[in-house]
Amino acid sequence: MTRPCRKGDTVEALIALAVGLMTAAGIYLMLRQRTFPVILGLALLSYAVNLFIFASGRLLRNAPPILTPGVTAYSDPLTQALVLTAIVISFAMTALIVIMALGAWLETGDDRIDMDPDP
């Protein structure tokens, strides 16, 4: 399946670009002034970082880490396990920040993420 590739013509390049774009979009949304886009941005960032971790184990196609007799090449199972952990944790965090943002909105009628300075 592998052959010498030109630089822009590889799964690696596509993944890198996807990570980059999602990171950028995540950061951009994270810098918005309302809680909702910020939450979306953080969610997007977590996609980006999950893909990043996953890719950091190197890419391998058609080699799921399910042990099969006769097969010797497997993709890195460890990074996948790490991503799983990261997905769960970021889900927990997202759920929490969503309800916190909702609580703040209900308390104040204001969904800006920036606060007025203290007295």
Binding site: T10, L21, F36, I66, A81, A95, L106, D114
Partner: protein
């Protein structure tokens, strides 16, 4: 140990006043006095040895690791100061007993006073400069408390703060100075340091050390330009002024200069800094003092001036000058304490301290007149009182000291200083006592009782006694202390008359005559003084302070104004910048891995992902649409995982994704539906630039990583090798999750459980009375919304799907160890099935049929996971050790039984409980907001059979 005891006693004694105040003011004062007296007696018991020239030591190891030890010593210098501190302390306690009003918190006062006394004794008895620092700062603190004693007065509070700031900052400089000194000497023991004069003065660090130490000394002893705090400190009760701000604390700086005299003095730097500062302070203080109308302010400036005098003497760096300094310390303590106490008496009696409103007290208060008069004459240096003797010695030394090659500067200016001293002293006597009573004076003042009078009277008696018989009363003490300071045996000859050839005599006469003339011409001088503009140190200080506070507020209110978007932007820039910097400062060799070729289907997926992401950027303000786009992105990411050999990830991603979307939809029901367009284009550009750089950084980083081989074989190789043999599973990801790194998973489900608990707690909070609840109740949802909350078709289909989905869940759970799946995904699948049920038939109907509390699921799940781990202890194995076996049980085929499955069950339950609790909590908000609870599974009025 006696020396240490002397220093510690007042601290112990500080406890008593607070306790004894309930027994009455007398008891309180007596106990305080007794403690002081005890310390004085102890000191006296050591005096003979010291006077014989011995140095008494006591050593207690405290923090030898940094050279800080509770080492005390008593030598002549210490004896002089400790004696002053305790003697005058005793008198002040007596005086304060009668001075303080009934409403003043006397217990507190004496506590502070004793704290101060202990700190002051600590300074003068320390044999370790770090220990000395400890006590040094303590005097600043206790002084702060005592100045601020009348807390309702603004000037007290300001005075206290100013004193603390000035002396505190000096103390901090001194820390640096003394540390340098200790570094040069290789020890913080005074013994050692004092023996290293050559090494210290030869060191490059001598000058910085000297300057830093002197800043400490000058601030404490109110030397120019740090003198301005002392007049402000006069807001303190008069006993404090008498004790701290004339007799003792302000002499701590003097003490330090004296203490370090053997190693620091004798250089040009020392002379020019110390002597000049002292001289300037002496003159300036005296001049300003003359024109002060507040009795205590006059005394404060006179104190500044007199301290300048002593400083100057020490600065000369000669043995006779140092000896004179010691003598003047004693004299100043006696007459100035007496004067302060008298001032307090006058203030009490006449209800004012304003000299312009005072007068004629000679008749009204004859005893006070006598006492204060004697003290003031001594201050003026009128023979034969003690002040005359030491001032004479000063003038003599000044006359023989050349400053900058000029023999006239010093004697001339010293005489000017003395002249003004005479002037303000005489003004005090003349204006307060001698002239006619001023019409503005209100009540009829009279002499106080013995309680108030005893202290000043005794001190004035001492003034006279020392004046008349210096050799009998004071010379021994001056000898002892001067010997200690200079390190040479000093035997002083104090005499009133040195013959007409004495320069000092003429200078003295000049000063007295000039002083008298100044008093005579006072009104004219005053007009001149009032007409000249001069920088007011206090004002400058206040301006500087206000500026500092303003700047600080810019930090707190300006930079930390709660604009988290800016904070995040800064953080991002810092992160990216640091990363780029770190990369560029290291060597990098490009990776050599063969890249993976790309297939068209992957490009299509990639295009969808990129397009959806870009679209999200442009459409994010429409929140529902944004959510859909996030859904698309999540979908493609999970397909990508599947494509790149990660089925477990794909399954987890897509299920988590949908739960997240549900959650956000539930929240969006209450939140605004659109995000307002409120960013300026400049800001958008800024954010876009930051985001672009961050994106580029992460892309470059991951590309660089993907294209190279691992530097070492990865630990994942072990996992692949041993998953089956040691972990009993062929799905290596799952074996890692429940076994190799089960502990991570344990933490991860804990996170999930906690999240759900917090969400629940927050929901409870919102639902309890408060603005949030009010807002919820005020919401009228669904007005104008479509009907048919629970369409029949959906309900029936859900009924069919639920059992099927449970089946799939069980399947995914059971096979997870060997094929994609496992407890986590199974938990999500079952959650989604249940959520579907909630959506179809509504919260009320479904919740009513719920058998198990979600809380309990979370608790049970975490417990099962934990206990599955703990279970291995029974077999002596570490936490989370797993075992598996193959079981043959007819009619089943051989199946595997792994303890990891129990752990995975805990995972399953926690995930299920957490997801359900989180979403159910959000649904409860909607129920509260006025929704009616449905009792039927669907809205159509059909009969279930």
């Amino acid at each position: 140990m006696t020396i240490a005891l002397i220093a510690v006693l007042p601290f112990v004694g500080a406890v008593f006043p607070g306790l004894m105040i309930r027994a009455g003011r007398n008891a309180c004062a007596i106990v305080t006095g007794l403690v002081t007296l005890t310390a004085l007696i102890l000191l006296a018991s050591q005096a003979p040895a010291v006077l014989r020239g011995e140095v008494v030591h006591s050593r207690i190891a405290w923090l030898p690791g940094i050279g800080l030890n509770a080492d005390f010593m008593l030598d002549g210098l210490g004896l002089l100061f400790a004696g002053l501190i305790l003697t005058i302390g005793l008198l002040v306690i007596l005086y304060a007993r009668f001075y303080l009003a009934a409403r003043d918190a006397m217990g507190q006062f004496f506590t502070f006073l004793m704290l101060f006394q202990g700190a002051m004794l600590g300074i003068v008895l320390s044999n370790n400069i770090l220990l000395l620092l400890v006590f040094w700062e303590l005097t600043s603190l206790s002084s702060f408390l005592l100045i601020g004693f009348w807390k309702h007065l603004p000037e007290s509070r300001q005075g206290a703060r100013m004193a603390l700031v000035v002396t505190g900052s000096g103390g901090l400089a001194m820390i640096a100075g003394l540390l340098i000194l200790g570094n040069i000497a290789g020890s913080y023991d005074l013994d050692v340091i004092l023996s290293q004069r050559e090494a210290i003065q030869a060191s490059d660090a001598y000058l910085p050390a000297l300057i830093l130490i002197l800043i400490g000394a000058f601030t404490k002893s109110a030397q120019f330009p740090f003198h301005f705090w002392l007049p402000q400190a006069m807001a303190a009760p008069t006993p404090v002024s008498a004790y701290l701000h004339s007799a003792t604390m302000v002499k701590a700086g003097i003490f330090l200069m004296a203490r370090l005299w053997p190693v620091l003095a004798g250089t040009d730097a020392w002379f020019y800094i110390v002597a000049t500062t002292g001289l300037v302070t002496m003159v300036l203080g005296a001049v300003i003092g003359l024109f002060k109308h507040d009795l205590k302010a006059l005394l404060a400036y006179s104190t500044i001036s007199q301290l300048g005098l002593i400083t100057m003497l020490l600065g000369f760096g000669t043995v006779p000058a140092a000896t004179a300094a010691m003598f003047h310390i004693v004299n100043h303590a006696t007459f100035k304490a007496a004067l302060f106490m008298s001032a307090g008496i006058i203030d009490h009696a006449a209800h004012t301290r304003d000299i312009r409103r005072l007068g004629g007290l000679r008749k009204a208060m004859p005893v006070t007149f006598a006492v204060a008069g004697i003290a003031a004459l001594a201050m003026a240096g009128i023979p034969p009182l003690n002040g005359f003797l030491s001032k004479e010695m000063m003038l003599e030394e000044a006359a023989h000291t050349v400053w900058g090659g000029n023999p006239w500067v010093l004697p001339a200016l010293a005489t000017v200083g003395a002249l003004f001293s005479v002037a303000y002293s005489l003004r005090l006597i003349a204006h307060v006592f001698l002239r006619r009573a001023q019409p503005t004076a209100g009540t009829q003042p009279h002499d106080p009782g013995l309680g108030l009078m005893f202290g000043p009277a005794l001190l004035s008696a001492l003034v006279v006694a020392i004046g008349l018989l210096p050799m009998a009363t004071a010379a021994w003490l001056v000898d002892a202390s001067a010997s200690a300071v200079t390190g040479t045996a000093v035997t002083v000859k104090i005499a009133h008359w040195h013959g007409f050839g004495s320069v000092a005599l003429w200078l003295s006469a000049l000063a007295i005559a000039g002083g008298a003339a100044a008093l005579f011409g006072f009104p004219r001088l005053l007009r001149l003084w009032d007409a000249t503009s001069r920088p007011d140190a206090k004002h400058l200080f206040d301006v500087a302070m206000a500026g500092a506070v303003r700047a600080a507020r810019r930090v707190t209110d300006g930079a930390h104004d709660g604009t988290v978007t800016r904070f995040l932007a800064i953080a991002t820039v810092v992160i990216v910048g640091s990363g780029v910097w770190a990369f560029r400062s290291g060597t990098h060799s490009p990776g050599l891995r063969t890249a993976t070729s790309v297939e068209p289907v992957a490009v299509i997926g990639w295009l969808v992902l990129m397009t959806a992401t870009v679209a999200l950027l442009f459409h994010h303000r429409s929140r529902l649409f944004a959510l859909m786009l996030v859904g698309i992105i999540g979908l493609i990411v999970s397909v990508g995982f599947a494509y790149l050999s990660a089925p477990d990830l794909a399954m987890t991603q897509v299920t988590v994704e949908v739960v997240t979307v549900l959650l956000l939809l539930l929240a969006l029901n209450f939140l605004p539906k659109t995000t307002p367009d409120e960013s300026t284009s400049g800001r958008r550009l800024r954010d876009a630039a930051i985001a672009a750089v961050a994106g580029a950084g992460s892309a470059a980083l991951i590309y660089a990583l993907m294209m190279r081989d691992f530097a070492f074989p990865t630990i994942a190789a072990y996992h692949l090798e041993n998953a089956k043999a040691l972990g009993g599973g062929t799905n290596v990801v799952n074996v890692i999750l429940v076994d190799f790194r089960g502990y991570d998973t344990f933490g991860e489900i804990t996170v999930l459980g906690i999240a759900a608990l917090v969400i629940f707690a927050l929901t409870e909070m919102i639902l309890s009375a408060g603005p949030a609840n009010d807002r919820l109740m005020a919401l009228k949802p669904n007005r104008g919304d479509a009907g048919d909350r629970h369409p029949l078709l959906f309900v029936v289909v859900t009924r069919m799907i639920l059992p099927l989905a449970l089946m799939v869940g069980v399947f995914i759970f059971l096979r997870g160890h060997n094929l994609p799946g496992g407890g986590f995904i199974a938990g999500l699948i079952v959650s989604i099935a249940l959520l579907m049920q909630y959506m179809a038939s509504g919260f009320g109907w479904t919740a009513a049929r719920k058998r198990i509390e979600y809380h309990a699921l979370i608790g049970a799940g975490l417990l099962i996971a934990g206990l599955a781990g703990i279970g291995s202890w029974v077999f002596g194995a570490p936490f989370l050790s797993s075992a598996y076996t193959y079981v043959d049980l007819w009619p089943l085929e051989t199946f595997e039984l792994a303890t990891a499955a129990i752990f995975d069950l805990g995972v399953f339950l926690t995930v299920l409980g957490a997801v359900m609790l989180a979403l159910a909590s959000l649904s409860r908000l909607a129920v509260r907001s006025g929704e009616d609870i449905n009792r039927a599974p669907y809205d159509a009025p059909l009969q279930e059979r």
